[in-house]
Amino acid sequence: MIKITNLEKYYKTEEVKTIALNKLSFEVKEGEFAAIMGPSGCGKSTLLNILGMLDDPDGGSYLFNGIEVANFNERKRANLRKHNIGFVFQSFNLIDELTVFENVELPLIYTGVKPADRKARVDEVLEKMQIMHRRKHFPQQLSGGQQQRVAVARAVVNNPKVILADEPTGNLDSSNGNEVMDLLTELNEAGTTIIMVTHSEHDAKFSHRIIRMLDGQKVTENVLV
C-alpha cells in the first residue's frame, strides 16, 4: 500500500539546515495498522504530512499503491489524497462554522458526490459513530470525545484506503481515548489501512506494528501480532 525508500526532508534557514527525515525507509501493507512512535522532533509529524501528501519530500521515493507520488504537483496530490486518505488529528480540526453533519459531508462535496447520496452516506457514518443525535450541533457544542468521533467520521466518510491519525487521543481522557481507539480498530478490521503517530504506548498496542523513530531515522520496528 505504502512504500517509502530513503525518504528525506530538510528545513532550511539562511544559516541552519535541519534534517527532519534522514533516508527513511519502510513499508505498510494493505489492511495493516502501524503505529509510529518517537520523542518530540524526531520527524513523526513530518513523515505523516508527507504520507498524507500535504507536503513533498526533498529526496527518496514514495510509492502509494504502486504509484510514485514523490514528484506529484499540488493538484495531483490533492486529487489522490481526497479519494484515498482520511485524516484524524489530535486537535480534531473541525471547522467551527459548520455543523457536525456539514463537517462530515465536506469530503464528499469535494469529491463531487451528489447531494442525495451524500446525505445517505453521512447519516450512515454518523449512525455508526453514534453521533447522529448531534448532527445539527456545532463543534464547540460537543465534548472532546464527541468531536474526535466526528473527526473520525469525516475521515472515513469517503471510504479511504488509508487513515492517517496524528495523536488521535492526545486531547482526550482515557475513556474517550479508548473509544476512539476501538473505532480505529474496527475500521482496520473492516479493511482500512491505518498509520497512527502516537506518544502513547497504550494506544500503540492497538496496532500490528510499532515503528520507532529518532532524529529522522527508523530505530526499531516491533511486530505485535
Partner: protein, 809 residues
C-alpha cells in the same frame, strides 16, 4: 457546492461581526455613491430617442466669426431663412422647422380669457407647424397635424392645461398673452403630455410661427448673416447620408449667404448635429434651448464613483489579508480533506461577492429615501421609478459582482495559497503575507483622500475668487424689475416717480440688460476712415441716465448719457483697447456701426467707464457700448441694505398700484450672479460629498487596520512596557508607519491633483493659481483624521496593563 459556499460565507460574516460591519458599511457607502451616480447618468442618457424619426432629425448649428477671424462662437442656432432654404436646396431634407426659444428668462404674461389672474410663463416656443412632423409629441387633446396651422394658435403642456383650466377641456378655449395694446388672443389647439420622453425640448407652450409679432419678424427676415437666434431642425430622408449633406453645407452658404455675410463682415460655418447627441455633446455651445448635460461631466462623476468604490474595496482587501490568520485553520482543514486551491478561491470570492450584494441591497432603500436629496444635488428631477429600470438593476448587479471580485480577488488568492502543512503544524499563519500590498493600498487611500480634499479646496477657492472679484459694479442690494409688457413700459415714468418716494430706494435707472444677465447680442463696429471689414464685435445695451450711478460703475472720462443723446454712447475700457484708442483722446471719437443697409451709422463716444463684468462671471471683460433708451426691458433699483424685505414690499405695493393684476417679476443681481455659478457650485457640492465619503471610508479602513495591528502587537507592547517603555513611545511605535504611508500618499497626490486641477482651471480666463499650502492643508486634514482614528486606538492599547496583554497572549 455553492450552497456550502454561501452557508460558510454567511456564518463567517456572522462570526466576525466587526469586520463584516466595517466591510459592509464601506461597501455600502461605495455602492451608494455608484448607484447615485448611475441613477443620475441614466437620467441623462437616451434623450430624444423617443421621437419617431430620431435617427433622421438634425439640429443646424452655426459657427460665427468676424472676417478678421478675431472671435469664433459656436451657436445652437441659425438665422431665420436657413431652415426652408435647406429644404429647397437639398433633396435629402424632407422637413424643416424653426423654433424661437422665448426663454427661461423672458417669460410671457398669460391668462385665460375672461380672467384677471395672470402668470408669467417661461419655456415658451414659437414654432413652425412642421414641428410635430419632425418631433414626436404625445397629444392628449387636439390634432398635432393641424395644431399650429392657423395664426394665434397655442399648444400647451398637460401641466399648463391644469394650471390655467383646472380640469376643464382647454381645447378651443382662449389664452390672452401680454397686456395693453400688445394683447394677443391665442386659441388652444392642442394639449401634449409633458412627461412623454426625455428631450432637450421641454416647452410649456408652443405658439404658431404665423402669429403676429416675433413670428412675423422671423418669417419676413431674409438676411442670412444676422439674427442668429432661430433653432433650426431638419429631417432627412430615411436613408440619406448626413455626411454628404454636411459636405454640401459650405457650398450652400456660398450660394445663399455670401452676399449678406460680406455686407456684415461676418463668416459662418454650419454643422448638422443629430438630436440624440444634443443632451450630452453640447458643451460650449451658446444659445441652447434650456440646460443640457455634458458627457465629460458624466465621465468625471463615473471616475469619482469608481475611486470611492476602490477605496471601499481597499478596506476589504486590507482587513481580509490582515485577518488571514483567523481563517488559516479552516483553510488547512479544507485543503487536507480534499479542497483544491480553485475551490477555495471560489469560496472566498463567494464571500466577498455576498458582502457586495448585501451592500447593494442596503443601497436600494437608502437611495430611494434619498432621491429628493439626490435630485437637489444634481439639480434635476429624479423619481423613485427610475430605480426599477432593468438597466439600473442590472448595473447594480454588475457593480456588486465586480466589487466582490475586485475586493475579493487578492485575499482569495492569498488565503487559498496557504499551505496546510504550515498551519496544521504551527496552528497559525503569519499575516505578514500581503504586508507590502497592504501598505501600498493604504498609500492609495491616503492619496485619494488628500487629492480629493485638495481638489475641493481648489474648486471652492476658484468659486470664491470668481464671486469676490471686482466686477466693476457693486452687486449687493440691486434688484432688477422686469418691464416685460408695453403697459409696464408706458408706466415707466410713473413707476420711477413712485419708487423715488420709497425711503429704502437709493436710486433707479433703466437698462435692457441687468448686470449679470446673459445675452449675447452684439454689433459689428469699425473705426471711421478705416477698412469697414476690420470690425470689432461689441455687446450693446440701452440705458437711461443714472444707470452707472445706480449699479456703481465708475466713469473714467467724459460724461453720462442724457435724454437728448441719440447717437452718443458710453463705452468701457476694453472697447478702447480693442480699437487701440488712447483714453484721453476717446471722447468725441466716432465709431461706425454696420447697419446692414446702404450706409453705416456713426456713433460718438461721450463717456468711458471702467471695465465691468457684464455677462458671465467666468468670461473676460468684453467691449460694450451703451446708448440712450427710455423704453427698456428692465429697471434696475438700488435699495438700502437695511430692511430689504420692507422696501421690497413697498416697491411691490407701488407696482400693484400702477399695474393692477400684473405680477411684479424681479430678481436680486447678486443671487443671479451666484446662479450663474451653479454648475461650479454643483461640482463643489458633489466633490465635497464624495470627498467626505472617501475620507470616511479611509477612516473606517484605518480603524479596522489599526485595531488589528494593535491586537497583533499586544504581546510586543506588553513586553516593551514591562521593560520600561512609556505610553508616548509606544504610540510613536504604532503611528510611525502610518505617518510614513501618509507622506508617500501626499507625495503622490500632489502631482496628480496639480495636473488635473490645472486642466480644470484652464477653462477660466480669470483663474487662481494653485498654491502649495492647499496640499499642506489637505495633508494636514488627513493627518489629523488619521491621528484621531489611529491615535485613540493606539493610546488605549498602549495604556493597557502589560500583565493583561502578556497573560492573554
Amino acid at each position: 457546492m455553492w450552497k456550502t459556499y454561501f452557508k460558510t460565507a454567511w456564518r463567517n460574516i456572522l462570526k466576525n461581526r466587526t469586520q463584516a460591519f466595517i466591510n459592509i458599511l464601506g461597501l455600502t457607502l461605495g455602492t451608494l455613491s455608484c448607484l447615485a451616480i448611475m441613477v443620475y447618468i441614466f437620467s441623462q442618457l437616451n434623450f430624444d430617442t423617443h421621437h419617431e424619426h430620431a435617427d433622421e432629425v438634425y439640429r443646424l448649428r452655426t459657427f460665427i466669426g468676424s472676417t478678421n477671424g478675431s472671435r469664433e462662437s459656436n451657436f445652437a442656432t441659425a438665422g431665420p431663412p436657413y431652415a426652408f432654404a435647406m429644404k429647397d436646396e437639398f433633396p435629402e431634407v424632407e422637413e424643416a422647422t424653426r423654433i424661437v426659444y422665448l426663454g427661461s428668462e423672458n417669460s410671457e404674461l398669460l391668462r385665460p380669457k375672461g380672467q384677471k389672474e395672470a402668470y408669467f410663463e417661461a419655456e415658451g416656443y414659437l414654432a413652425d407647424s412642421t414641428i410635430f412632423r419632425i418631433f414626436t409629441f404625445k397629444f392628449i387633446k387636439g390634432d398635432s397635424k393641424r395644431a399650429l396651422n392657423e395664426p394665434n394658435s397655442i399648444v400647451i403642456s398637460s401641466g399648463m392645461a391644469e394650471k390655467y383650466f383646472k380640469g376643464d377641456n382647454p381645447l378651443n378655449q382662449y389664452l390672452v398673452q401680454g397686456s395693453g395694446e400688445d394683447e394677443l388672443l391665442l386659441k388652444v389647439t392642442g394639449v401634449f403630455d409633458e412627461n412623454f420622453g426625455k428631450s432637450h425640448l421641454r416647452p410649456n407652450y408652443i405658439l404658431s410661427m404665423n402669429t403676429p409679432g416675433m413670428g412675423e419678424f422671423v418669417r419676413n427676415t431674409t438676411d442670412f448673416a444676422t439674427q442668429n437666434f432661430v433653432h433650426t431642425y431638419v429631417k432627412l430622408a430615411k436613408n440619406a447620408d448626413v455626411d454628404l449633406v454636411r459636405t454640401k453645407l459650405p457650398g450652400f452658404l456660398e450660394k445663399y449667404a455670401k452676399k449678406d455675410l460680406e455686407k456684415w463682415g461676418k463668416s459662418k460655418k454650419l454643422y448638422l448635429q443629430n438630436i440624440q447627441d444634443i443632451n450630452l455633446h453640447s458643451a460650449g455651445i451658446e444659445s441652447q434651448i434650456g440646460k443640457t448635460s455634458d458627457i465629460n461631466y458624466l465621465k468625471m462623476l463615473a471616475i469619482l464613483a469608481l475611486f470611492i468604490q476602490l477605496v471601499a474595496s481597499v478596506n476589504f482587501i486590507n482587513l481580509s489579508t490582515a485577518r488571514a490568520h483567523k481563517r488559516a485553520k479552516e483553510i488547512g482543514i479544507r485543503k487536507t480533506i480534499g479542497a483544491s486551491k480553485n475551490t477555495l478561491i471560489k469560496q472566498f470570492l463567494c464571500e466577498s461577492v455576498i458582502l457586495a450584494f448585501v451592500a447593494a441591497f442596503i443601497s436600494i432603500p437608502l437611495i430611494a429615501l434619498g432621491m429628493p436629496l439626490l435630485g437637489g444635488l444634481f439639480q434635476t428631477s429624479l423619481t423613485i421609478d427610475i430605480l426599477w429600470n432593468w438597466e439600473i438593476l442590472a448595473g447594480l448587479v454588475v457593480i456588486a459582482v465586480l466589487t466582490g471580485l475586485v475586493a475579493g480577488m487578492y485575499p482569495a488568492f492569498l488565503l487559498a495559497g496557504i499551505k496546510p502543512v504550515r498551519i496544521l503544524k504551527s496552528g497559525s499563519f503569519s499575516s505578514s503575507s500581503g504586508g507590502f500590498l497592504r501598505e501600498a493600498l493604504v498609500v492609495f487611500q491616503f492619496m485619494v483622500s488628500i487629492g480629493l480634499i485638495a481638489a475641493v479646496i481648489i474648486i471652492l477657492n476658484q468659486i470664491h475668487h470668481t464671486l469676490d472679484k471686482d466686477l466693476g459694479y457693486s452687486k449687493e442690494n440691486i434688484i432688477a424689475i422686469k418691464l416685460g409688457t408695453d403697459e409696464a413700459k408706458d408706466a415707466i415714468q410713473q413707476l420711477s416717480n413712485s419708487l423715488g418716494n420709497i425711503p429704502g430706494v437709493t436710486s433707479a435707472a433703466l437698462s435692457d440688460m441687468y448686470p449679470s444677465q446673459v445675452r449675447d447680442a452684439d454689433l459689428a463696429i469699425y473705426l471711421p476712415g478705416e477698412d469697414p471689414n476690420k470690425i470689432q464685435t461689441m455687446v450693446y445695451n440701452g440705458i437711461s441716465p443714472g444707470y452707472f450711478e445706480t449699479v456703481g460703475t465708475k466713469m473714467m472720462y467724459g460724461r453720462t448719457l442724457s435724454e437728448t443723446d441719440t447717437l452718443g454712447i458710453i463705452v468701457n475700457e476694453s472697447a478702447l483697447k480693442a480699437f487701440n484708442l488712447k483714453p484721453e483722446k476717446a471722447i468725441g471719437q466716432q465709431l461706425m456701426y454696420k447697419t446692414g443697409g446702404e450706409t453705416d451709422q456713426a456713433l460718438e463716444i461721450v463717456g468711458v467707464t471702467e471695465d465691468f463684468q457684464f455677462t458671465e462671471l467666468k468670461s473676460v471683460t468684453r467691449p460694450i457700448l451703451n446708448y440712450m433708451d427710455s423704453r427698456t426691458d428692465w429697471m434696475v433699483v438700488r435699495i438700502a441694505g437695511n430692511d430689504i424685505s420692507q422696501t421690497l414690499d413697498k416697491i411691490n405695493t407701488s407696482w400693484n398700484d400702477i399695474l393692477r393684476h400684473k405680477p411684479m417679476e424681479y430678481r436680486f443681481v447678486d443671487e443671479e450672479l451666484e446662479r450663474l455659478l451653479s454648475e461650479e457650485k454643483r461640482l463643489a457640492r458633489i466633490s465635497t460629498i464624495f470627498t467626505v465619503l472617501a475620507v470616511i471610508l479611509c477612516t473606517l479602513g484605518l480603524f479596522g487596520l489599526i485595531s488589528f495591528i494593535a491586537e497583533q502587537k499586544r504581546k510586543e507592547i506588553g513586553i516593551r512596557k514591562v521593560l520600561g517603555a512609556n505610553v508616548p513611545s509606544i504610540v510613536n511605535l504604532l503611528l510611525r508607519d502610518f505617518v510614513i504611508l501618509l507622506l508617500i500618499g501626499l507625495a503622490l497626490a500632489v502631482p496628480i491633483t496639480w495636473y488635473q486641477m490645472e486642466e480644470w482651471l484652464s477653462s477660466y480666463p480669470d483663474r487662481i493659481s494653485i498654491q502649495w499650502w492647499t496640499f499642506v492643508l489637505a495633508g494636514g486634514i488627513s493627518f489629523i483624521i488619521m491621528i484621531f482614528t489611529v491615535g485613540l486606538k493606539t493610546i488605549r492599547t498602549a495604556s493597557t496593563n502589560p500583565v493583561k496583554n502578556l497573560r492573554t497572549e
